[in-house]
C-alpha cells in the first residue's frame, strides 16, 4: 500500500520552512511493471543459461503471469531477482547489458519521453520528475557544482546487496543513451563507493572509461555519482522523435502518476531539508504520521536505521559545504549539529575514511 500522508496536517504543525514528507513507496509496494525491465532481465538471464526455477526462486514471480497481465512487482521481488541472477550467472556483464537496453528498447511512456528528449538536460529533468518510473531503486539527485552537473545516486528503498548491480545498470543506461543520441561517448565521470571489481573490463567497455582518457571511473569514492561538464547538457539530441515524446506525454497525463520517492529517499529528503531544525527520531516519526516505534520498524524493513539516514544526509552536506569553499570546520560542525569541529572531523573520518582537510573535490 502506498501510504499517503496528509500533508496539510503536517504543514500546520510545522514552521513555515519546515519540509513535510511527501507520499512515498516502500520496499513491498507493488508498482513496478513486470513486463518492462524485470522481463528483460529474466529473458537475458534465461538466454545466458540460468535455469528458470533458480532464477525465480523466492521472488513469487511466475513467467506466465508476466505475459498474461499487467503484473506489478515490489522492489523486494526485484531485489530477490537480481540476487538470484548474481548467484546463478557466472557472467558479470548482465547489469551492463540490461543498462544498454533499459532506456532505448522500452515502450513505457516515461522512458519514451526520456529517450526522446531534446537534450541531456531535458532527459535528466524527466528522470528527476518520475523517479518511481525511471529509477525506482536508486534515487537520482541532481546537483550543479561549478562547471559540471553531478547526479548522485542514493538507495531509495533498501536495495542492500543489489545496489552495485543497480548502479552499474543506471550508469550504463544514461551513458549509453547519451552516446547513442550524440554519436560520441561523452566525458562522463563515474564514482562508486564499492572497490574495483574483478570484472573491471566491463566498466571499460560498457561505460567507455579508461584510466587516462577523458572519461574516468573512480572506485572507493565517498559517494555514488556520475558527473558531466555543463557544456554537454544543452547540445541538441538529433535522434529524438518529438512526436513519440508528445504522444507519450499525452498517455502519461491520462494516467497522471503522482511523483513519488522511495521511503528511504523521502526520509533523506525530509532530513536534508530540515537539517536546520536538528531533526530527531521522534519529530521525524511524528511528521511521517506514525509512532517512533513504527518509524523504526519501517526503517529496519528497508535495511536501515535513523542514525544511518541522518549521518548520510550530514555526510553529503559536509562534503558539499567543504567542497564549495569558504566554510570553516566550526561552521560546518555547527550547521550539522556537532558539538565542535573535532567531533565533525571524527565523524567525517568514519563516514568517508578521510579527514575533511584531505577531502579533495570529486575529480
Amino acid at each position: 500500500m502506498i501510504a499517503v500522508i496528509n500533508s496539510t496536517l503536517s504543514a500546520a504543525r510545522s514552521t513555515a520552512e519546515h519540509y513535510a514528507p511527501k507520499p512515498y513507496y516502500e520496499i513491498d509496494t507493488a508498482f513496478i511493471a513486470a513486463q518492462h525491465w524485470p522481463l528483460a532481465l529474466i529473458e537475458l538471464a534465461l538466454s545466458r543459461g540460468v535455469e528458470e526455477h533458480k532464477l525465480l526462486r523466492g521472488t513469487g514471480i511466475f513467467c506466465e503471469d508476466i505475459a498474461r497481465n499487467n503484473l506489478q512487482l515490489s522492489p523486494q521481488q526485484c531485489f530477490q531477482l537480481i540476487h538470484n541472477v548474481q548467484k546463478h550467472s557466472a557472467q558479470p556483464d548482465l547489469s551492463f547489458l540490461l543498462g544498454h537496453r533499459l532506456l532505448l528498447d522500452n515502450t513505457e511512456a516515461a522512458t519514451v519521453i526520456l529517450a526522446n528528449a531534446h537534450s541531456l538536460q531535458d532527459a535528466l529533468d524527466t528522470l528527476i520528475a518520475h523517479p518511481q518510473l525511471l529509477s525506482p531503486f536508486i534515487a537520482p539527485r541532481l546537483s550543479y557544482e561549478q562547471n559540471r552537473l553531478v547526479i548522485y545516486w542514493q538507495d531509495a528503498c533498501g536495495a542492500d546487496s543489489a545496489q552495485i548491480f543497480l548502479l552499474e545498470m543506471m550508469a550504463t543506461a544514461l551513458s549509453s543513451l547519451s552516446r547513442w543520441q550524440t554519436g560520441t561517448s561523452l566525458p562522463w565521470q563515474f564514482y562508486f563507493t564499492h572497490s574495483a571489481p574483478a570484472y573491471i573490463e566491463q566498466y571499460q567497455v560498457h561505460l567507455h572509461t579508461q584510466c587516462y582518457s577523458n572519461s574516468k571511473v573512480q572506485f572507493n569514492a565517498p559517494v555514488n555519482a556520475m558527473a558531466i561538464e555543463r557544456s554537454h547538457l544543452h547540445l541538441p539530441w538529433k535522434k529524438s522523435n518529438p512526436e513519440l515524446a508528445t504522444n507519450a506525454r499525452t498517455a502519461m497525463t491520462l494516467n497522471a502518476p503522482a511523483m513519488q520517492q522511495g521511503f528511504l529517499a523521502e526520509t533523506y529528503n525530509y532530513l536534508h531539508n530540515n537539517i536546520q531544525h536538528a531533526p530527531n527520531l521522534e519529530q521525524t516519526a511524528a511528521d511521517f504520521s506514525m509512532s517512533s516505534a513504527s518509524f523504526k520498524r519501517k526503517l529496519k524493513k528497508h535495511y536501515s536505521h535513523f542514525q544511518a539516514q541522518y549521518d548520510l544526509v550530514r555526510r553529503d552536506l559536509a562534503i558539499k559545504w567543504l567542497n564549495q569553499g569558504g566554510w570553516t570546520h566550526e561552521q560546518v560542525a555547527q550547521e550539522l549539529h556537532f558539538y565542535d569541529a573535532a567531533n565533525l572531523r571524527r565523524a567525517f573520518k568514519k563516514w568517508t575514511g578521510k579527514l575533511p582537510q584531505a577531502m579533495a573535490p570529486l575529480d
Binding site: 538466454s47 543459461g49 570484472y199 566491463q202 571499460q204 567497455v205 579508461q210 587516462y212
Partner: protein, 310 residues
C-alpha cells in the same frame, strides 16, 4: 548424459546385487562385536568413491571407446571394493574361494582397464587441445569461459599475458596485443535484437579464429571487444594481421535470422607491443591500457581502422 549409459549402470547394479545375494546365501552374518568399523569405513568409502567417479564420468562423457574403458574399469574397482566391504559383515566359509577371487581378481583387472582408459583419454585430450589451440594456451580454466562466444574472458587474458610476458623476458622479440572492437555494435543490437547481437559476436569470433596463426590466442575481452595475443610478433606482422582481420570482417556478410538480410560490419583495432628491452616493466594492465588507447584513437579517426601504440 546419464540416460545414454543406463545399461552400464544397470549391469553395475546387477553385479553388486549378485555379489550381495551370493554372499548372503553361503556366508553367516557376523556378530556386532566382530565388526571392525574402521575397516568398514575405509573399504566402504573407497567403493563409494569409485561409484561417484563412475557416475561423474558417465554424466560428462558421450559413449565411445574411452568411456567404455573408463566405466568398465571403475565398475570392476567398485564391485571389488563392495565385496571387500561385504567381508566385514559376513563370515565366508573357509571352503569357498570365489569371494577372494571377486575381491582380489577384479581389482587389478579394473585398475588395468582404468589405466588403459586414462591412456586413451590422454590421447583424446591432446587432439581436443589441438582443436582449442587458438582459444586457450598454457592453462585451462573453464570458469572464465564466455557463454556467448565460447572464448576465454578478460581474466584468462590477464593471466595468460602475465605468463607470456614472463616467458618473453629472455627473448628478443616482442609480443603484440590487439584489441578488436566492433563498430556500431549497439546499433545492431537495437535494430535486430540482442539475440542477433550475440549470434553476430559468436560468428565474428569464429571468423577471427580462421584468420589467425596457430600460436595466436583469441579472447573475448568484454562486450563487443575481442583481445588477440600474438606472441613473438613485431609491429609489421601485427599490423598485417590486423589489416587482414579488418578486411575479413568487412567482407563478411552476416545473415540475420528473421529476414535473412545481409549485414556488413567494420572493426576498429588497437595494437600494443611489449617492450623487448624492458619486458620486466611491462605488465598486462599496462599493455591492455596501451592497446585501448590505440583503439580509442583509431575509433576517433574512423577512416583508419588500425592504430598502433609502441
Amino acid at each position: 548424459m546419464l540416460k545414454h549409459h543406463k545399461w552400464k549402470l544397470f549391469f553395475v547394479g546387477m553385479g553388486a546385487n549378485c555379489v550381495l545375494l551370493a554372499g548372503l546365501a553361503i556366508a553367516d552374518i557376523k556378530f556386532w562385536s566382530e565388526i571392525n568399523w574402521l575397516d568398514v569405513l575405509s573399504e566402504g568409502g573407497a567403493a563409494g568413491l569409485a561409484l561417484v567417479w563412475l557416475l561423474l564420468i558417465l554424466h560428462s562423457r558421450p559413449a565411445g571407446r574411452v568411456t567404455q574403458f573408463l566405466s568398465l574399469g571403475l565398475s570392476c574397482v567398485f564391485i571389488a571394493g563392495f565385496q571387500d566391504c561385504l567381508d566385514e559383515f559376513l563370515r565366508f566359509p573357509e571352503a569357498s574361494r570365489w569371494d577372494h577371487w571377486v575381491e582380489s581378481g577384479l581389482m587389478p583387472i579394473g585398475l588395468m582397464l582404468l589405466t588403459l582408459g586414462i591412456y586413451h583419454w590422454h590421447k583424446e585430450q591432446l587432439s581436443i587441445t589441438e582443436q582449442l589451440r587458438k582459444r586457450e594456451q598454457l592453462f585451462r580454466e573453464h570458469r572464465g569461459l564466455d557463454f556467448t562466444t565460447n572464448l576465454n574472458g578478460a581474466d584468462y587474458l590477464r593471466k595468460q599475458l602475465t605468463q607470456t610476458l614472463a616467458a618473453q623476458d629472455q627473448a628478443t622479440t616482442t609480443l603484440a596485443l590487439l584489441l578488436i572492437d566492433v563498430d556500431n555494435f549497439s546499433e545492431i543490437n537495437r535494430r535486430y535484437g540482442h539475440q542477433q547481437g550475440d549470434h553476430l559476436l559468436q560468428a565474428l569470433g569464429e571468423l577471427i579464429l580462421l584468420n589467425i596463426r596457430r600460436q595466436d590466442l583469441l579472447c573475448r575481452y568484454a562486450g563487443d571487444r575481442f583481445a588477440l595475443v600474438l606472441p613473438n610478433t613485431g609491429r609489421l606482422v601485427a599490423e598485417t594481421i590486423a589489416r587482414e582481420i579488418s578486411a575479413a570482417v568487412n567482407n563478411f556478410a552476416y545473415k540475420t535470422h528473421a529476414q535473412g538480410e545481409s549485414v556488413f560490419h567494420s572493426v576498429s583495432i588497437g595494437i600494443a607491443l611489449s617492450n623487448p628491452e624492458h619486458n620486466s616493466m611491462d605488465n598486462p594492465a599496462m599493455l591492455i591500457e596501451r592497446a585501448t588507447l590505440a583503439l580509442l584513437s583509431s575509433k576517433e579517426k574512423r577512416n583508419h581502422t588500425i592504430a598502433c601504440a609502441a
